[in-house]
Structures are given as structure tokens and as C-alpha cells.
């Protein structure tokens, strides 16, 4: 359900008025549902055209094998579902002109909620200054293009580490996510694929089939949406929340055919209890989503010990302790894909949220440092940083503040809990196997903290 402003400017007088006054006209975003086409039209694949490069060719034939309608040259006036810029072989900023300007000619032909995806290499792995310059240039290009696109279209980039090929499975998993409606509210982001690991699922509509997933804070809001999304994708769920939220938790558990575990994650033995429950009742623990979080907002000058400690305790200390229990579970050899919910507040800061931003910054630090520990045993850990998401919590923000907050991004609207859940489901899937230690923002390219 779109917000009231979006409804107003989508039809009749409202639409006309918004156009004349130059007001934001948020689009209805294309979101994923099983069975829908991956993209809303043909896919244009453009490369640098360098003689020694064939990344674009390889990718084009791979996408054709997915059953997509792939173009190497745009047809006049044909609406495109996506443009993929394969820039993994740029050696000098001069190399960008041809593919970028070719793409430029097709931007007006993008269908609503179309996608632009760049595939390039991480700048820090470049030896030569010219190569690094070209690779870093893609970053600026991508983020600016994302701000120019309209009608629900987004631009995101895949960064390949050394040794990772553009058509390797890990990169393809990320590409599939960015093309699909699962990434509706992800915009202007670059995601690094560090390793050749991971695999595409046999059934793209049930990528988590057979996986056992634990979601904390699942009784309501984003946590409940994560549980539903993981269930839709085929996972068996353990939903966790504090005992006091048990009635809502039970409803979610029954909806997603999972089991409810009432436990306070700040308890000393919470990790043990969660692991035991998953192993004893479901025979495994493949996915762990640290979603539980609280806010106790106050300006730092007015902050008291309880507010500070409660937020740190739930939002980061509990995650650390549970991860330690997972890492210590050697006999079971647990190697889950862990996804933590961070926040754009933890990246850009937010007035009145020193405690919250500290905890969410902590989550990002934890994720980066835990990735190598899990890599040894084949697991992964990533964070998702939501921006303005339409939840019960944000619905309590005063009207004017809320209205400004939800427009301050490239998509000119708030995201939905489902959008956060989709990003988490992707990072929890085997298709994201080569991605670890990353922070993926689900914020519609929020104008602050980009």
C-alpha cells in the first residue's frame, strides 16, 4: 500500500499538480513475487569493446541461458528491462566513454522499475593508478546515475575482487538479485563479491529450500517480514523473540509453519538455547538473522545509563555473544550464513540516536571482523542497513518529520519491511556465497550518509 502522498500524486489532479509544481512523484516500485519475470523487458548488455575482453559476451550468453531476451545493441524506441554495463576490464578512465555513452542513449527507453547494473572490479585490487582511477570512477558514475533515474528504476553495482569472474556464480547471484524485484528499494549501492563461492539454487523461486533459519525479533515489523520472506523462499523457520512478545511470535510461527522460541537474546545462555533448539528440533542451523533491536532515543546530553545500556545490550552485545556461541559450536561444525540488521543511522548518524547509531556501527564492525572467522568453515556474515522503512516504529514519527524523511532518497518514498527482508533472504542464500563482511543498504539511496 503506497503512502497517502504517493496515492495523491499518482492520479488525476494530484498528478497534474505535482508535475506543474515540480513536487516529488514517487513511483510504484516493482516488487518480487514468485513466477513474475525477472526483469520488465529485454536486457541490454554493454561492454568496453576492448579486443582482449570478453566478459560482456560471456555474460550475455549466460543471461540468454536464463531465458532472458538479451540485446547487444538497443533497438530504437524499444522499452528495456535492464542495462548491464560490464566494465570489469577498464584499464583507464578513457575506456568508460564508449559503454557509458552508449547506455546513455537508451536511458529514456527504460521501462518503469527497470535496472541498470554495473559489473566492475574493486579499485583497491588494482595495481596501476590508471586502472584504479577507472575502477573508482565507476563508483561515482553509478551513484550519480542512480540519482538521475526515474519511475522506480534503480542503479546498483557489483564489485568483483581479484580472481572473481563476471560470470562466476557468486557474481551471477548478485546480478540476479539486482535485476529482480527483490531489490526494489536498493539503489545506488555497490556490493563486493570477494570469493568464487556459492551457487544458484535449482529452483529460483525457492532458493532457501531445506534450510533451517533462525530470525530474532520476529514477533512483529521487519522481523516478521523476514520470517515470511524466508518461509516463502523455502526455509524452515525458528522465530525468536522475548517472552513478553510471545503472542505475536506465536502468530508469526503459525503463519510460517515454524517453531516459536521465547528467549531474551540478552540472556547469558541465549546463544546456546537458540542453537540447541535449531539442532534438536530442526536438525541444523543454516541461516541466522540478527534482527532484534530496540531504540531508546534521547539527545546525548539527556542520555541516562538505562537507555544507553539497553540499546547496546540488545542491538550489539547480544549479537556478539550469540555469534561467539555459534563459533564455539565446533562439535556441530555450524557454518551458517549470518545476516545482521544494521541501520543507516549507524553509517550516517542521526540526531537523538547516539546509542542506537553506536550499536548499529558496532554491528558493522562486528560483521567485518567476523567474516574471516566464518570463512574458514564456509559460512558468511553480512549486514543490511535499512533506511526509512514504513513500520509501526516510523509511523510514530511526527507527520512533517516523517514526510520529509521518507522523501529524502532517490526513490522519493519509504521502503517496506519486505524490502529489507528480500535483501536478507538474498544474503542468506547460497547464491550470495561469495559475499561476506559486506554492508548492503536498503534505503532507496538515502541522501544522507551515502
Amino acid at each position: 500500500m503506497a503512502d497517502k502522498y504517493t496515492q495523491f500524486v499518482s492520479h488525476g489532479i494530484g498528478k497534474d499538480l505535482a508535475k506543474r509544481l515540480g513536487l516529488p512523484q514517487p513511483a510504484r516500485l516493482r516488487r518480487y513475487a514468485p513466477g513474475l519475470p525477472l526483469v520488465p523487458g529485454p536486457v541490454l548488455v554493454l561492454g568496453t569493446g576492448r579486443m582482449d575482453a570478453n566478459g560482456a559476451d560471456e555474460l550475455a550468453s549466460e543471461l540468454a541461458a536464463w531465458g532472458l531476451d538479451v540485446r547487444r545493441n538497443a533497438l530504437p524506441k524499444e522499452k528495456l528491462g535492464a542495462i548491464i554495463l560490464v566494465l570489469d576490464d577498464v584499464g583507464h578512465p578513457d575506456d568508460l566513454a564508449k559503454p557509458v555513452l552508449t547506455a546513455a542513449q537508451s536511458l529514456r527507453d527504460l521501462a518503469p522499475s527497470a535496472r541498470v547494473v554495473t559489473v566492475s572490479r574493486t579499485p583497491d585490487s588494482a595495481g596501476l593508478p590508471a586502472v584504479a582511477a577507472a575502477r573508482q570512477a565507476v563508483d561515482g558514475l553509478l551513484r550519480s546515475l542512480a540519482k538521475e533515474l526515474r519511475a522506480g528504476a534503480t542503479a546498483n553495482g557489483i564489485l568483483l575482487a581479484n580472481g572473481v569472474g563476471a560470470v562466476r556464480l557468486s557474481a551471477l547471484g548478485a546480478l540476479r538479485f539486482f535485476l529482480s524485484g527483490r531489490s526494489a528499494f536498493v539503489d545506488g549501492q555497490l556490493l563486493t563479491v570477494a570469493k568464487d563461492a556459492g551457487q544458484l539454487p535449482p529452483d529460483p523461486d525457492r532458493p532457501l529450500a531445506g534450510k533451517v533459519a533462525v530470525v530474532t525479533g520476529a514477533a512483529r515489523g521487519i522481523g516478521a517480514a523476514i520470517a515470511r520472506t524466508l518461509y516463502r523462499d523455502g526455509a524452515r523457520l525458528v522465530v525468536v523473540d522475548i517472552p513478553a512478545a510471545g503472542d505475536h511470535l506465536a502468530q508469526v510461527a503459525n503463519e510460517v509453519h515454524g517453531t516459536a522460541l521465547q528467549v531474551d537474546i540478552t540472556a547469558e545462555d541465549a546463544g546456546r538455547r537458540i542453537i540447541d533448539h535449531a539442532l534438536e528440533r530442526h536438525g541444523g542451523l543454516d541461516i541466522l538473522v540478527h534482527n532484534a533491536g530496540i531504540t531508546r532515543d534521547k539527545l546525548l546530553a539527556n542520555m541516562d545509563e538505562n537507555r544507553w545500556n539497553a540499546v547496546i545490550g540488545v542491538n550489539i552485545a547480544a549479537q556478539l555473544r550469540i555469534n561467539e556461541a555459534v563459533l564455539a559450536s565446533n562439535p556441530h561444525g555450524l557454518s551458517p550464513r549470518i545476516v545482521s540488521v544494521a541501520s543507516t543511522s549507524g553509517i550516517a548518524g542521526n540526531r537523538g540516536q547516539t546509542n542506537y547509531a553506536a550499536s548499529k556501527g558496532g554491528v558493522i564492525g562486528m560483521v567485518r571482523a567476523t567474516a574471516p572467522l566464518l570463512a574458514e568453515r564456509g559460512g558468511s556474515i553480512n549486514a543490511v542497513a535499512p533506511g526509512f522503512i514504513e513500520t509501526e516504529m516510523t509511523a510514530r514519527i511526527p507527520f512533517a518529520t516523517r514526510e520529509v524523511a521518507r522523501r529524502l532518497n532517490s526513490l522519493q518514498q519509504g521502503g517496506r519491511p519486505d524490502d529489507v527482508a528480500e535483501a536478507i533472504a538474498f544474503l542468506a542464500s547460497d547464491a550470495a556465497g561469495g559475499i561476506s563482511g559486506e554492508v548492503l543498504r536498503v534505503c532507496g539511496q538515502n541522501l544522507v550518509g551515502a
Partner: protein, 456 residues
């Protein structure tokens, strides 16, 4: 369920042609917090509460769309529209709609009796799984029209012509309009349950302080159990309530001593029964999940305890031979004897606290040489219970007592307690449940911590 699972859990024939009895295992339980009448659940019906308790159980054990062998539950205060209360609750729950259900009613023993009846069906091989339960609302109690008005309304329905109808209506008197509310009075004596217990309390000369102490322990034991998270996997909150609303963690002997007696004020002896050492009217619901070992294993479910045996008894309270709530005194020695057990073999005693006086009169009777010889036909006193083993996580004085829901509360809590205790002196930990009921009835049962059979 696949066919091979069905046959695997069916009773196996032995060479002698006898079918070895299967074990009925307590998998776990769920209840909603109990609320004092007129509190959080004032607007909740029995069906609402029982459905909520079922849904919490289903969520805890992942039983969505599962066809359970049978569900049995009941309510003591029951609306006539709730003739199929349990089945309706099942239909409103996340269980398979193909799960059969029946209602049962044995006053306050309802909950325990559903456990025993369903456990017997499991042991006999009739079903592999079951949910036992109970619910009661004193807030949403049925109110009937007066007997006079009821007769008039029925006659009105039968009359065919206008003059006939007017004639029937002319019989209506103002007094007929007064509704008939339920009460806890015994139909044959007219005495309330509290007044009945006051007679027994006086007969056994139970001191006020001893009753207050039992109430004090009940509150403090229950509060401590909450604090250490004992109920995290036994309770699902409901309508904003996370804990039993009757619980007073900060109650003191002084506070309890300051309360005025409410029962037994006209007996000529000192009245000792107060609102503090009697259970209040309460709303709530509880459920217990039972199954065979194979059924639980196939679903990777816990096996906390085994339902060993149960026994019912009744006393002639109408003629004053015994106290209204003293039937468990008679049922317990019979149950122990049948199972070759004595009090020394029991690690936990769960004696329902209808009134502190009930528990203490029961204990006094078992400790009384004369009574045990003459009335129970024993060689001497049945024995003294180690009070450290009595209602260790609190009982009805603190939690409250929604009549039919108390049995399920006790069975689930005791099963977890036994499981946590594990073996005692090389044998499974054992618990005795005793529940008194209106009509001079009582049901008692023995549960044992689950241990895998030899060779498994």
C-alpha cells in the same frame, strides 16, 4: 503422516500374543497467563482463551496443519452455546481441521482427567498423539434466565395462537426477570466451597499462620520460577498479560496476616481463611501435548515425562462424613499402592491449592495415624511429605485457578520439572499430582521423568 510411521508406532505383538503397553509421553505444554476475574480477559470467551492456548502450543512445537489424534478439553463454567467448545477451538486454531475433539467436565479435575483419558488412549494404541486442556472464565460466565422465565419462554414457543401467547405472558412476574448467575455453591448443601473448606480446616485445626505461610511460599516460589525463566517455554502471553495477574512477588507474612477472614466466620472457632490464603476467581486456559515416543521422535519433539497412572476418588461430604475437598486423600494411597510406591519414592508433590487449608488438611490427614487406619484402611499414617518437595514452583494460591485449566498448568510444569531433574538414585524422577474438585471428587496422578527404554 507416511504409512510406515503409522505402523512403526503401532503396538507390537509379542510371542505371547500380549500387546505391551505403549508409553504416553508429555511433550510439553502451553498456557496463557492466568488473570484475576474482571481483569485482562474480561472480554475473552472460553473459546477465545482455549484457542489462544492451543495456538501457542502449536507455535512452540511446529504443529501447524498437523492432524492430532484427539484433543480433549473442558470448562466448568460453560455457556450452552459452547456445546462443542473444544472442537470449535480446534477449528479456530492452526491445527488440521481434521483433528477430532471432545469436551469433558469433572469440575476442577477436568484438566487432569483429560490428560489421563488421552494418555490411556495413547497407551492402548488408539491414538499416537493428543492435546489435553482446559479453560475457564469467571468473567465471561454464563448467566441463565430464572427458572420461571425459562418455563414461560418455552411455553410461549409452544403456543400457537395470540390468545394462548397472551395467557402465557400473563404468568410473568417481576421476580422472574432476575437472572440466575453461577456460583460455587454445592447444589446439595447450599454451602460455598469456601464454607465447606472452612469446616474441614476447623476439623483438622489448621492454624491461620500455617495457611498464610503456604500462600507466602506459593507466591515466592512462583515469582522465583518466573525470574529464572522457567515459564519461558510453558506460557504464551495473551491480551497484554505476561504473568499471572494474581502473583504478588512482594507479599509478606505481615501483609497476609493483616487480611480479614472471609470464610468460616460462624463456626464458633477462630476463622482463619482469608482472601490471601484462598484462590481468587480466575480466567485462563492451558494445554498439554501428549504422544507416543515414536510420534515425538518422528517430529524431533522433546519427551519430558511419562504419564504413569491416575486414580479418582469421591467422598460423602453431603452427610458430613468427609470434607468436600478431601477426596484426593483417599485416591492417593490407592494409586501409590497399585504402583508399589510410597511417599519416599516421590520427588515432587503438586497439590492443588484450592485453599491453603485444603493442602494442609490433606497433609494432616495423611500424617494422622488414626485417620489413616480407620478411614484409609492402612496400617498407620501414610506419611509426612518433605515440604521442600511441595509445589516448588508455586501453585494456585499464587497463579490463580481457572477451574478446568489448573490440571494442564500442573501437568506441563511438573513434566518440565521432572525432565530438568532427570534420574534420582538411578530411577527416573517422580511427581505426584493431587487435585480436589467440587462434588466431593478428586483426581490424582503420577508422572515420571522420561528415560529411553533399555536397548535404545
Amino acid at each position: 503422516m507416511p504409512a510406515e510411521e503409522q505402523s512403526a508406532s503401532a503396538p507390537q505383538q509379542t510371542s505371547g500374543g500380549h500387546q505391551p503397553m505403549r508409553r504416553a509421553v508429555v511433550v510439553g505444554g502451553n498456557r496463557i497467563p492466568f488473570a484475576r476475574t474482571g481483569g485482562a480477559y474480561t472480554k475473552s470467551s472460553n473459546q477465545d482463551m482455549l484457542t489462544a492456548a492451543l495456538d501457542g502450543l502449536i507455535a512452540r512445537f511446529g504443529l501447524q496443519d498437523e492432524r492430532i489424534g484427539e484433543v480433549a478439553a473442558g470448562a466448568v463454567l460453560k455457556h450452552s452455546r459452547d456445546f462443542n467448545l473444544t472442537r470449535e477451538a480446534v477449528l479456530g486454531s492452526a491445527l488440521s481441521a481434521e483433528t477430532p475433539a471432545y469436551d469433558l467436565q469433572q469440575a476442577c479435575a477436568t484438566g487432569l482427567e483429560t490428560v489421563l483419558g488421552l494418555a490411556n488412549k495413547i497407551k492402548l494404541g488408539q491414538i499416537d498423539s493428543a492435546i489435553a486442556g482446559g479453560v475457564d472464565s469467571a468473567s465471561d460466565a454464563p448467566i441463565a434466565v430464572s427458572e420461571g422465565l425459562r418455563e414461560i419462554l418455552l411455553d410461549l414457543n409452544r403456543s400457537k395462537t395470540l390468545p394462548e401467547r397472551l395467557k402465557v405472558l400473563a404468568r410473568l412476574r417481576p421476580k422472574d426477570l432476575a437472572p440466575d448467575a453461577p456460583n460455587t455453591g454445592e447444589p446439595r448443601t447450599g454451602l460455598s466451597m469456601g464454607e465447606h473448606q472452612a469446616l474441614t480446616t476447623a476439623q483438622w485445626e489448621i492454624a491461620r499462620e500455617a495457611q498464610d505461610e503456604l500462600a507466602y511460599n506459593s507466591h515466592h516460589n512462583l515469582a522465583a520460577a518466573y525470574e529464572r525463566g522457567f515459564f519461558d517455554d510453558l506460557i504464551t502471553p495473551y491480551r497484554g498479560l505476561n504473568r499471572d495477574s494474581n502473583l504478588r512477588p512482594d507479599t509478606s507474612m505481615e501483609k497476609l496476616a493483616s487480611l480479614k477472614p472471609v470464610f468460616g466466620k460462624g463456626l464458633g472457632t477462630e476463622a482463619t481463611m482469608t482472601a490471601g490464603n484462598s484462590t481468587p476467581l480466575t480466567d485462563g486456559a492451558s494445554t498439554v501435548l501428549l504422544g507416543t515416543e515414536e510420534w515425538a521422535d518422528a517430529r524431533r519433539l522433546p519427551k519430558l515425562a511419562v504419564v504413569v497412572d491416575g486414580e479418582a476418588a469421591a467422598v460423602d461430604f453431603v452427610h458430613g462424613k468427609d470434607g468436600l475437598l478431601m477426596a484426593p486423600v483417599f485416591a492417593t494411597p490407592r494409586l501409590l499402592e497399585r504402583n508399589g510406591l510410597s511417599f519416599e519414592d516421590i520427588d515432587f508433590f503438586e497439590i492443588h491449592e484450592a485453599f491453603a487449608g485444603t493442602v494442609l488438611s490433606t497433609l494432616a490427614a495423611w500424617e494422622d495415624d488414626e485417620f489413616c487406619r480407620t478411614r484409609l484402611g492402612l496400617g498407620g499414617a501414610l506419611g509426612k511429605i518433605d515440604r521442600a518437595k511441595l509445589n516448588v514452583n508455586g501453585s494456585s494460591l499464587a497463579a490463580g485457578h481457572p477451574f478446568a485449566a489448573t490440571g494442564g498448568r500442573i501437568v506441563a510444569s511438573l513434566a518440565k520439572l521432572l525432565h530438568d531433574r532427570g534420574p534420582v538414585d538411578g530411577r527416573p524422577a517422580r511427581g505426584l499430582i493431587s487435585i480436589c474438585a467440587a462434588g466431593g471428587q478428586g483426581v490424582v496422578a503420577i508422572l515420571e521423568a522420561y528415560t529411553a527404554p533399555e536397548g535404545r
